[in-house]
């Protein structure tokens, strides 16, 4: 277990989000410290993705506060939130199908973080050799798993301080999942904070220090990952 700074990098307080007239998040509240890796666990439809989208400004919360590095970001346009140092990997990959793999990476490129080695396509190709092989192929013409790698690599190109990933292990072969877990571990070494939404408990358990259990649009249980009891899992995660 790694020691974390005191600084809270992300605070979500009492967020309520609607899709049209349907309320999805009910007073969603949690916070993460810098360098920590946290996971939102919950059943399908619990509101994990909606929480992440609210943080990114992809849907705007009706009420509540979101602080990133102490600064209120609720209501900011998405691109500004991103440029403050947040990276987002969506659950449906959203590769630019008409752009090549290399061009997809280029879209994600942002200035380096002071004091840390910036991500380059070469470093990412080392990490995901499949992408190297297909680097001139169109994004729409690579396999689903390769697209999953690409969407993660593309976000890394932005050198985020807080990396938000929505079910990154979905659709990947076990070897690749292992590799992904190792990558995320390495990110923590670089003091990158990680926020996951996951169904895959095993994967989450390998990377994360904290677990927030989401049910019906609110956090109903919050504990260090290793203290997550079988009972809690049974109650909130069994489908």
């Amino acid at each position: 277990m790694q020691r974390h700074g005191k600084e809270k990098i992300l605070e979500v307080k009492g967020v309520r989000t609607y899709y049209g007239k349907a309320q999805i998040l009910f007073d969603m509240t949690f916070s993460i410290r810098r360098g920590e890796a946290a996971v939102l666990l919950g059943r399908n439809g619990a509101g994990k993705s909606t929480t992440l989208k609210s943080v990114m400004g992809l849907v705007s919360p009706k009420q509540g506060e979101i602080l990133f590095k102490g600064r209120s970001i609720a209501g900011l346009p998405t691109y500004k939130i991103c440029s403050l140092g947040m990276g987002y990997v969506p659950e449906d990959r959203r590769i630019f199908a008409g752009l090549t793999v290399a061009e997809n990476l280029e879209v994600g490129r942002r200035p380096p973080r002071a004091g840390f080695e910036p991500w380059t396509p070469e470093r990412l190709y080392d990490l995901f050799p499949n992408l190297q092989v297909h680097k001139d192929r169109l994004g729409g013409r690579i396999s689903g798993g390769e697209q999953q790698m690409l969407t993660i690599a593309r976000t890394l190109m932005g050198n985020p301080e807080l990396m938000i990933l929505d079910e990154p292990s979905e659709g990947l072969a076990p070897v690749i999942v292992d590799q992904l877990a190792a990558t995320l571990e390495n990110l923590k070494q670089d003091r990158v904070t990680v926020l996951l939404a996951e169904q895959n408990l095993g994967f989450a358990g390998r990377i994360c220090d904290r677990a927030f259990i989401v049910d019906h649009g609110a956090v109903c249980h919050d504990s260090p990952m290793h203290e997550l009891s079988a009972g809690v899992c049974e109650r909130f995660l069994a489908v």
Partner: protein, 622 residues
């Protein structure tokens, strides 16, 4: 052989300006999803600015080309101003509203151009050093045309390089695919959009400027070129710049050789090529099919309701007032109200396919004006009595709509709309160019009602009964199985198909029904006016109808009636003023900026209850 080669090269040079305009249009649409009606205006302004820049600058080849470049940059900046001041405020508004905004810009620019540049057609200056001709196997070819031929490929290569080899270009291409994801990767779309608008308008301005020595500058260029650009874009495939290039070449050659064989028929030839291409490749030569529908139509949130008690009472009161109207109104008011009623029928027929049918038409005047012409020509050439002409007009328009609709229903959304506009422009061109049969610009005069209906009060009743009857019939149709199936097709093509509805055929029929009723409205209209002119079939007429529908609100069945009353009233008020287009355009711009969700949307949002209240969205009734 010589003349043939010269004709071929002339075709290539015709293609140049067309390609520049179409490429800009395609680029802007691809990124921002704005169908920029004002794009043709940018082309026109480019020609005028080039004219004045070149005449102010010193003589000589360097300054000539400098003047052309200045014109393109000025137009690019104009486009940027329009984007920043107007479009940026309304990107979230429904697509149709953005269209209304750009059309308003077109109106404003028309009058501003008249004011600033004057009404006279300008003859373009000769290009220094390129004002001679060269001999090709005994035939003469203007040197400037050769220069034009080189411009299009140069621009094509430049654009290719920009879009594929620069970071900016990669971001632009990404934006055409998924703007939200682009934002999530930290890209400021506002700046990107502004840049694309600059580039697109720059290209339009460049197109207008380079054709100046060949075609000069006049105030009709805007609408002429926008229709041609739509054809190019549809034939080439929306969003594909090489496609636009290819299509511009084909259509340029066609106009060039068409003139040789069948003068006056160039637009018909364009139509023919477009028809052939769309039958074989519905998304154009190099276009990609649109993605499968992701979302249910926005309009599905506004179920149509049968008339509520309140509306029935209002309708009955309105009918009573209309019937009693001749008792206390003068002949001027009778004519005005009669025309509002006919126009309302035309609007209702457009609403019929646009609202419940989900097919936006930019060319509905083809049927309205077409009906007017059909009736007028029967009367004029074969002395058809009014009663028969009123039957023949809708019949002819139903047939025309069947032909046009057969092509249009193969497409959807903006593609469909552009195609309707192109068809309408072709119909308009036929009427204009076939002077011996249609009277050309002089129109058809002296079309009066039968003697029994000659009395203005009787004619008023006739107009009210025909128009009101048509409106009620269309309304009734929406609540029959035909109407339900039609709305099902709009809300979800796939699901409608899955329950056994032949979607395309259903849309085709509803298109024909709409054409028929618009034709009926046009038929009675011509007897009220006594004459008909090509304006009734032109793009501005189509937009009069579309704007009225939008004004009244696309969500509600009574919208078209309210909208047309508002529109005709407004037009009657301001059309006597100089520069009324400027005023009308400004009013529309204001409306769009103040009510970006549409007027109906504004009021329903304003009076809607708190979220969670299920009733709030569905309270509007027919």
């Amino acid at each position: 052989m010589g003349p043939f080669i010269v004709q071929f090269l002339t075709g290539l040079s015709n293609a140049s300006a067309l390609f520049l305009v179409a490429a800009g249009l395609s680029l802007i649409f691809g990124v921002s999803r704005v169908v920029n009606m004002a794009h043709g205006s940018f082309y026109m302004v480019g020609a005028y600015v080039a004219y004045f820049a070149i005449s102010w600058l010193p003589k000589g080849g360097f300054w000539f080309w400098g003047g052309i470049l200045i014109a393109a940059v000025v137009v690019g900046l104009l486009g940027t101003v329009v984007e920043v001041l107007l479009l940026r405020r309304i990107y979230r508004a429904p697509e149709l509203f953005m269209l209304m905004a750009t059309f308003a810009v077109l109106l404003v620019i028309q009058d501003l151009a008249l004011w600033v540049f004057g009404a006279e057609d300008l003859l373009g200056p000769r290009a220094p050093g390129l004002d001679g001709s060269i001999q090709i196997l005994g035939a003469l070819m203007p040197e400037y045309d050769i220069a034009l031929i080189l411009i299009a490929p140069l621009v094509l290569v430049g654009l290719w390089f920009l879009l594929n080899r620069t970071r900016w270009g990669v971001l632009v291409r990404a934006a055409t695919e998924d703007r939200e994801m682009l934002a999530a990767l930290g890209v400021n779309q506002k700046r990107l959009f502004t840049g694309v608008f600059f580039l697109g308008s720059f290209l339009a301005g460049l197109g207008g400027a380079v054709q100046l020595p060949k075609g000069g500058a006049d105030l009709l260029m805007d609408l002429n070129v926008i229709a041609a650009a739509f054809v190019v874009v549809v034939v080439g495939g929306m969003g594909s710049i090489p496609g636009a290039f290819l299509a511009a070449l084909i259509l340029g050659e066609l106009t060039s050789f068409g003139v040789l064989f069948i003068p006056q028929s160039t637009l018909v030839m364009m139509f023919f090529v477009m028809a052939v291409v769309l039958v074989i490749r519905p998304y154009g030569l190099l276009g990609k099919p649109e993605g499968v529908e992701h979302t249910v139509s926005e309009l599905a949130q506004w179920p149509l309701r049968k008339a509520s008690r309140k509306l029935r009472v209002t309708g009955a009161v309105l009918a009573a007032v209309l019937l009693a109207f001749p008792l206390f109104a003068g002949s001027f008011q009778l004519i005005l109200i009669g025309e509002i009623a006919m126009f309302a029928l035309a609007c209702m027929s457009l609403f019929f396919i646009t609202g419940p049918g989900g097919m936006v038409s930019f060319g509905h005047a083809a049927f309205f004006g077409g009906g007017a012409y059909a009736a007028a020509l029967f009367v004029h050439h074969v002395n058809t009595p009014m009663e028969l002409a009123l039957l023949l007009a809708p019949t002819c328009m139903a047939l025309l709509a069947l032909v046009i609709g057969w092509f249009c229903v193969r497409l959807s959304g903006v593609y469909l709309a552009m195609l309707t506009l192109a068809f309408a422009q072709i119909c308009w061109a036929v009427v204009c160019q076939w002077g011996r049969f249609t009277g050309g610009d002089d129109g058809v005069l002296g079309i009066w009602p039968s003697p029994w209906a000659g009395n203005e009060v009787i004619f008023y009743y006739l107009a009210i009964i025909i128009s009101g009857g048509g409106i009620l019939a269309l309304r009734y149709l929406l609540f029959t199985p035909f109407g339900y199936a039609m709305r099902a097709c709009r809300d979800s093509r796939l699901r409608a198909a899955a329950i056994g509805i032949h979607v395309r055929r259903r849309q085709w029929y509803s298109f024909a029904v709409a054409g028929m009723f618009a034709g009926l409205a046009g038929g009675i209209y011509v007897f009220s006016k006594g004459s008909v002119f090509p304006y009734e079939m032109s793009i501005p007429r189509s937009f009069d109808i579309l704007l009225s529908v939008l004004l009244g609100g696309i969500h509600s069945l009574s919208g078209p009636v309210v909208g047309s009353a508002a529109f005709i009233g407004l037009e009657d008020l301001i059309s006597r003023v100089h520069f009324w287009r400027l005023i009308l355009g400004s009013i529309f711009i204001l409306l769009v900026v103040c009510f970006p969700q549409g007027i109906a949307g504004y009021f329903s949002a304003r009076f809607a209850k708190e979220p969670g209240d299920q009733e709030a969205g569905s309270e509007r009734s027919g």
